[in-house]
Symmetry: C2
């Protein structure tokens, strides 16, 4: 008679919420193995792929660990993951209500320093375009950028007027990358950097170093030194 009451489809978000609830309530304590997908699908009254989707999403956050045959377990030491947004600096400044500015300080083409070449995975002495520039917010230094570009990977950049267009903007529009790495650290402002960022020497500087590649070919290495007080926030 009430055969139409259970017509409402179960969404994978609902299953995710319920699984998270059971973990939080310690129905499934850390380290415990949870039922397999087929059983859960039967319990929830939905297709296995729906359960699979929900568990996959949770596992992506590090709270569940899944292995074939071994099943799904609540992570014992959840090395949680956070997703960090890396906005374009122009947008970041605009979002803070500032007016964005860009100033190229130096541009040179020549053999890259051995250390830089090594970090980019290039042979020592490879020819690199070296750029130093300031990103400004309301005219004040916001980020100092020290960048090396591999002209072999991005030949077009040699003919761009980089005083008008920031290298990042050009690369973003013309050289979508397929991989790379990001390193975050803190460094003390040396004399030159302090001068560029208009801050006290020795101030703590939040630094992001990015290397981007297309396939196996390195495109650019950029070190961005943020003005003191910069923070990066994300959800968990």
């Amino acid at each position: 008679m009430q055969s139409d009451a259970d017509r409402a489809p179960i969404t994978w978000q609902a299953i995710r919420a319920e699984v998270l609830r059971r973990i939080q309530a310690r129905d499934w304590p850390p380290g415990a193995q949870i039922p397999n997908e087929a059983d859960l699908a039967r319990d929830f009254g939905c297709a296995r792929s729906t359960v699979s989707r929900a568990l996959r999403e949770i596992a992506a956050t590090g709270l569940l660990e899944r292995r074939r045959k071994a099943g799904t377990r609540v992570a014992l030491n959840p090395a949680r993951r956070a997703t960090l947004d890396i906005p374009v600096l122009r947008d970041e400044v605009a979002a803070r209500g500032g007016s964005y500015g860009y100033a190229l300080i130096a541009r040179s083409l020549g053999a890259g320093p051995p250390e830089i070449c090594a970090r980019m995975g290039l042979p020592p002495g490879a020819r690199l375009l070296h750029l130093r520039a300031l990103h400004l917010s309301d005219g004040a230094p916001y980020v100092f950028e020290d960048r090396w570009v591999n002209p072999d990977a991005a030949p077009g950049i040699l003919s761009v007027d980089l005083a008008q267009t920031s290298a990042n903007a050009w690369l973003v529009q013309n050289m979508p990358y397929t991989g790379g790495s990001l390193t975050l650290s803190a460094q003390s402002a040396g004399g030159e950097l302090a001068g560029l960022l208009n801050c006290a020497p020795g101030a703590a500087i939040f630094t992001m170093e990015r290397i981007t590649r297309v396939g196996d070919i390195p495109i650019t290495l950029v070190v961005q030194s943020h003005a003191p007080g910069h923070r990066v926030t994300t959800g968990l």
Copy 2:
């Protein structure tokens, strides 16, 4: 006759790779709309859900933007996302080959400072457990941790011997959280912090501040100050 040549199933990873290739090759330049899922599925000779999975994964990295009816576009200003692993400090030290140590410096229970209560979203003067501790690698200071715990959310922690078990380890095993935030910044080591971390006053310190919640209830706010030179790296 060759009707069995196309039996190999197309994987979503293969489609992702091909879509990335077309973006990189500027077949689909930034800002352009790409064919809809149904058309791509026909072109690739697979089910629409396979295409959907591939495009969803790419969109999750920020390279594609998807909207119903408007279709899928190559992001014009790809605010790229990176996933950051937040390992348990004990594991992080062990992975670096060090022996892990933990030393509780201070423990007190009382009204939290207004600023801390506000950051946690609690009323001013809320009762908080305040912990100060050092994480050690091979006996040397590795991270100084300044933590506030909401005892109403985690009553069990008041009866734990925190000299033996780090608060983080206990919380991780007993209080799986459902949300929170993470803030990264650089700070200059003040006199006290320099003493604790055994570094020069004024050194640049990489700082992570985490707030975790269960539902809407804040559990803990922790500020972790890393020894100078600390770096966090992730893929893109």
